[in-house]
Amino acid sequence: MPELSAGDTAWVLTSAALVLLMTPGLAFFYGGMVRAKAVLNMLMMSFLALAIVPVLWVLWGYTLAFDGTNGGLIGGLGKFGLDGVGLDSMHPGGLPIPEFSFVAFQAVFAIITVALISGAIAERASFRGWALFVPLWLTLVYLPVANWVWGGGWIFELGALDFAGGTVVHINAGAAGLALALVLGKRIGWPQQPMRPHNLPFVLLGAGLLWFGWFGFNAGSALGANGLASAAFVNTMVATAAAVLGWLLVDVVKQKHSTTLGAASGAIAGLVAITPACAYVSPIGAIIIGVVAGAVCALCVGLKYRFGYDDSLDVVAVHLVGGVVGTLMIGLLASADFTGEAEGLFYGGGVDLLWRQAVAAAVVIVFSFVVAYVLGKIIDATVGFRVSEEEEVDGIDLNSHLETGYELTSTSAGPTRSAAAAPARAESAQGA
């Protein structure tokens, strides 16, 4: 039993809090990108993930992901309800941090992964359908994949590298997003009608919060306050910056303007791509990954128009493509100075690491896509996964949540309480 390190523990708990903030950040990033009539629904999809996932994580999430592995596929049920995890329990892999801090750190990863998917089905998903999808996809897809990669499962044994979640988080969520976009179909009016972001300041605010929180995601994944965490921190910073430049360059060439949406999306694309790689490449390697991810993702946002799937907020182009770029580029740019052993193609390691990375990425894409597609179809056939045409056109906020995001005029037709009822209620409160 290792001696507890107060420094490591403090950093892991701090990182967990940073990563938790990413989901509200994501909510604003997505919320600003939809039209005004759907902003609350977009925020609420992320917030529902924040509500459902921690409860399930304590019940069966942590144990199925991290209580050993059965055949390399899924963990056990020995820690159901965190049974046996106590004040003195230490990290199961022998690191000098309490097991509770590891439970918390991994929980917040699961939250944001599920929330990421919501961007693909913006403005039209029934809240009931989403409320069913979150626990089912978490259990049937996220938990096994987390076990494969981080819980000692088969991808871990294969030797594929994923430091902070290129496969588990981003490829996983991106493939599921594509599946749900296909199940739900296009929004009414897409793609003829332009569906521009209603609040770009929200988008940039959200991207900023995500960038900030991502330091916990990547540097925190070192699970210690040390040189590895610091290197991951620098790589996360510089890859993101380079990706903003890469995306804006494509913007200027293709649209003749540097768009705010492009800057925000470029930052996320860079963060996504450096996530699996942040502890395995040099800062120069991180810059290369960032520029490539920014430019490639920017070029991929047009794919949905070519193939006709309404991935509303580009979960595929940013998270799936960015995740694949980062995961594969580890195979090119991994440096033994950072990994300790494995080397990428450009550092003389041959294609040995590259093919392992490709296998890990491909299997996660197929698994997540297929299960999410089947889940989506089942939900659609039972409780319904899409709101009615009238609800969608009038605005999903008012119909799903009985609220609107903005009351900008005194004559708006939002729901109002009878004026007479308010004072009566106040009086009775005083009397009591």
Binding site: P191, L261, V301, G302
Partner: protein, 112 residues
């Protein structure tokens, strides 16, 4: 009395307003509008997609004027709103049968 309605380019609003004020027009109503005429729309590329923008942002300006002033007001607006490029807008005149100033109850030209 006549109602003069002008649909003009938004960036010309300030110049038109100042010119009308200088001419002696006391009030006006301005609304944001969108539309097109011979200009039609234009195409633009945004976020990987090419859009046809049919409805172009415009400003709609309404002024009530005395019959005697109509021609001059039309001239003032047209002069101030003109850039010479396509999309400068249109001005038209409709009869206003009655006008009342709400505060005082004055009617007709006195209410202008």
């Amino acid at each position: 009395m006549k109602l003069v309605t002008a649909v003009i380019k938004p960036f010309k609003l300030d110049e038109v307003r100042k010119a009308l004020e200088a001419f002696g027009v006391n009030g006006m109503t301005v609304t944001e509008a969108s539309g097109y005429g011979r200009q039609k729309g234009h195409t633009e590329v945004y976020r990987g997609a090419e859009y046809t923008v049919d409805l172009v942002p415009k400003v709609r300006l309404e002024v009530l004027v005395d019959d005697l002033d109509v021609d001059q007001v039309l001239g003032v607006i047209a002069e101030a709103a003109r850039t010479g490029k396509i999309g400068d807008g249109k001005i038209w005149v409709t009869p206003a049968e009655a006008v009342i100033r709400v505060r005082t109850g004055e009617t007709g030209p006195d209410a202008l």
